[in-house]
Homo-oligomer: 368 residues x 2
């Protein structure tokens, strides 16, 4: 397994060397994790001309959610709360006479960047940009295996909730119960804050659960996901509460279902991100719901719950095989509620059976 991280660091080294840098400092937590195998909070990774160094404020505990650092890395432990790892790294790089160090300007604050310059005034600081994020786009089978387990856990937690009585319970309690069930089934934690919206709160992507109680006739939307060994997946479903849905509910559900299916079917290697978005979006648009549509209808998942690619009208780029994404169109009617259906899938070539659906909870409109 250790080999994987060395290979990833090798790929990164090729990229920053090609851009004229002698060394690189990776500070964004998910990027550090990707390249180091695991790291305590606040750790940064220095890829120098010599050996690679993981600088951290405290010793790695090797918890599953954070991983255990690759043994090929040199560990540099700083006294706790004593010295900023990026500043210490700048000092090391300056001492190596590396000349130019690429840093993650989208992650480092101006103050930390200045402190690095102050400690190593002759070191030229360049920008690594989102090079590591680009390496993270396509997942290997071990990463996909973690996502698959995360999705299984998520399906289990959701399935159990559906067997319980929902009427009269608050959004907050349902969200907490879902998170407890995720952990029960082996998640290292929720992948993001669980969203439960009922009645006029339903159909919103990131609704924060309130004390509103589930009532007969409501739409109920849930959105949750497990974090398994650092990998995060996502599922969203909308149900109707009571014996039978109203006509407007069936109509709206069928529309969002069709849009979500169109999005899923557009997931083929080589498809433009924006075309996947359009496949889902144009159905909602043509039905008169262009106002208030979410800015994207899906996004990548992995070590972060919202990573590249974005499936959005302005997005540039094309899907590769082995890229896991969500497809999650939704419609929310202010004051009434709405529907959102959200799956995590892995892009696969048609020869391999097409997109691999990780979140398999039914998408029929269930009346609970």
């Amino acid at each position: 397994m250790s080999e994987v991280y060395a290979v990833r660091r090798g790929l990164l080294r090729d990229r920053f060397a090609a851009a004229g840098h002698a060394a690189a400092l990776v500070s964004r937590p998910a990027n550090v994790r990707y390249l180091a195998g695991g790291a305590p909070p606040g750790a940064v990774l220095l890829l120098g001309p010599g050996e690679d160094v993981l600088l951290c404020g405290r010793a790695p505990a090797g918890e599953p959610a954070r991983g255990r650092p690759d043994e090929q890395l040199k560990l540099h432990l700083l006294p706790e709360n004593d010295g900023d790892p990026v500043v210490v790294a700048a000092g090391l790089a300056g001492g190596m006479d590396t000349g130019s160090l690429a840093v993650e300007e989208h992650d480092l604050t101006v103050a930390r960047h200045r402190a690095m310059s102050a400690v190593a005034p002759r070191l030229r600081l360049g920008d690594l940009g989102s090079t590591v994020e680009q390496l993270r786009l396509v997942k290997d089978e071990e990463e996909i295996a973690c996502l698959r387990i995360a999705a299984e856990i998520t399906d289990q937690a959701l399935g159990e909730l559906l067997e319980s009585i929902l009427v009269g319970r608050t959004e907050r309690h349902l969200a907490l119960e879902l998170e407890r069930r995720l952990v029960d089934h082996g998640a290292d934690g929720p992948a993001f804050a669980t969203s439960v919206g009922t009645g006029h709160h339903s159909g919103l992507g990131r609704h924060r659960p309130t004390d509103r109680r589930v009532e007969e006739g409501d739409f109920l939307s849930v959105r949750l996901g497990a974090n398994y060994h650092g990998y995060r997946c996502e599922i969203g479903r909308t149900f109707v509460i009571g014996t039978s849905p109203a006509d407007w509910q069936i109509e709206l559900y069928d529309l969002v279902f069709a849009a979500q299916r169109a999005g899923r079917e557009a997931l083929v290697p080589g498809a433009a991100y924006r075309d996947v978005d359009r496949a889902a979006r144009h159905l909602l648009d043509s039905a008169g719901h262009s106002e208030g549509l979410p800015p994207s209808t899906g996004h990548g998942v992995g070590l972060e719950i919202d990573e590249d690619p974005q499936l959005a009208p302005e997005a540039m780029g094309k899907l590769d095989a082995c890229v896991p994404v969500t497809v999650e169109p939704g419609v929310h009617l202010p004051g009434r509620g709405g529907v959102r259906i959200d799956d995590t899938l892995v892009v696969r070539p048609e020869a391999d059976g097409g997109p691999e659906l990780l979140t398999i909870t039914t998408k029929e409109l269930l009346a609970l």
Copy 2:
């Protein structure tokens, strides 16, 4: 209530004007909240020579945990995911011909800072530093009232747990149950990730709960707190499981208890931060526990769970009245476990009865 935010902004305006800046841009979330009353995620606040503008990517929902923006503020809504608020703010400031804009260099990334310069090349960007954090140090009575409620909720959640059977349950389940109880009693959420450590995990400040089960004879340490309307408090207690504690447990508990009391008693207006720390620390030091002591024995709380002041050996500054802090010394013996006792208190003059203890759960050594 609205007046409060205008007064705070007025104080900030005095400070940045004195430093020669015509305008300031506040981006750190807790600082925005402090000055604006409430803001959706990602919002930034521009204090210009003219009216103050809150720039946000989505409309404020007015949830208790995030608050509702002061009505005196102009709201500038950006299309969702379309344009970075700090860049739009730089454009506005540039257009006003403000000359110099102070920004929070400890919060802004290098990439955002560059994008601001690109959009307003003639605007001079200065550093606001931690001016807003300094304003936030001393709390008004309304803020303290929120902390008091947060502490009541926390005491209730902990009290209920103590009445239940603990042996055989895992750290993770106990932590989840505590968080559920916080929400049951009216918290907007946990103030930070609840820590539960049993056996050799006990006595650590930030232990992440595992699947270890509580056993007879264990020390059990818990650390939790409620977020109430944005304000966060903290309590930590250590218990012993079973009929009677061992001698080493009683001895260690008495020592940490004495250190924590000494820290609490040192909380008087005018006391140096480092002297409060020393009051608690020297007892642990003299008992031979100088190795592995935490870098600070307490810290400020408020809109963030860990804010200024730091009660630590190297800290500079003196306590004021109405500053809420934690006092939380602890000792952890590797392989055996340990004790940590943690309260949230408000510094008050002796004439007002001395430090106000917010977290009132007993600190006797309970055998559960």
